[in-house]
Symmetry: C2
Subunit: 201 residues, 2 copies
């Protein structure tokens, strides 16, 4: 049992490593321009050995995107059920979303820019993920409008798109070695989104 | 002269058409997965005829991105010199940026998602474009902070990234046949960005 447990762990660690290396390559070169050989080479694997863990390139892309999508959904599902004011929920949403994004920025970039290359059946699943996520965000916004905390003169869907714009765009400019840390970005973006940038004095 | 003028016009129209068709294909299939033959076919051109107008696929990508970049820069250069309050400038900036984006949404999508495939020397030019654009936006924001119109507790660069996030993300979800018109999006996003989404009562 101990040996089997170690073997399983090793198998899982290797699979995780493949996804990380692939995410980096897909981001830099694009999914279409990255070959299975490029991924094997970056991992230091013999030609063909990668197929022990992964069926093909499409599967790598789907696993990457599915992992990320599930993490986002798990987070918002938990949040929607929390017993706290809608503005507080939105603040937590922004912070958690930026946390997930920045923790693995390559995976986030692939999620947004390469999903179009997924085979149709998987692409549909990802679109469902995205729609569910958007719906839950809109639900929180509507709750905030209904309870009088948020302005009602803007369509909640447009508010959702504005929020998603601010926080998703992070994958374009964020660098783990850059000037701004994830917590600082989240704090400032919450401020901007929730209170606006105009001076209220 | 008349004949020559007509010929020039025809030449220019065809070149414009090539860029439009290529933008649509690059967006749908990705730059790497689109061949010159795909573009020729979509234009109804004989094999090889496209080379009368365009040298190669890299040149198409660069022309697309350069056109878009120049339009953005021309707009913000004009705006910076205008004699109006900074908040009004930001409002105009958001409206104009969304107008340029949505007028040719395929070109905008290619601008953001495919520029990484440009040859190095051209990529550098595009990065310079982008940096200049960002700097001018930051300049307007700082002006607004210095004159007391905008909150000073958020780094102007982070404010710029938040604004660019909201307005650039439009290329991900906007459809010319969709529910929201460009003017409506611009109006609502100006409201959200400039005044915030919290209820002030």
């Amino acid at each position: 049992m101990a040996i089997s447990g170690t073997a399983t762990r090793r198998y899982k660690n290797r699979a995780k490593e493949i996804l990380e290396v692939a995410a980096k390559l897909f981001r830099e070169k694009g999914f279409k321009s990255t070959s299975m050989q490029d991924i094997s080479k970056a991992l230091g694997l013999e030609k063909g050995a990668i197929y022990y863990w992964i069926k093909n390139k499409d599967q790598i892309l789907y696993l990457l995107i599915e992992n990320e999508g599930k993490e986002f959904l798990k987070m918002i599902n938990k949040l929607v059920k929390e017993n706290c004011p809608p503005v507080e929920k939105l603040k937590k949403f922004i912070e958690n979303h930026i946390k997930i994004m920045t923790e693995n920025i390559d995976k986030s970039a692939v999620f947004f820019s390469e999903y179009k290359f997924l085979p149709e059946k998987w692409k549909k699943k990802v679109i469902n993920f995205r729609d569910e996520y958007e719906s839950m965000l809109i639900y929180i916004i509507k709750e905030g409008q209904d309870k009088g905390f948020l302005r009602k003169d803007v369509d909640p869907k447009l508010i959702a798109f504005a929020i998603l714009g601010v926080i998703n765009w992070v994958y374009i400019w964020f660098s783990p070695k850059g000037k701004y840390k994830a917590e600082e970005i989240a704090k400032n973006f919450s401020e901007i989104i929730l209170n606006g940038i105009s001076n209220r004095t």
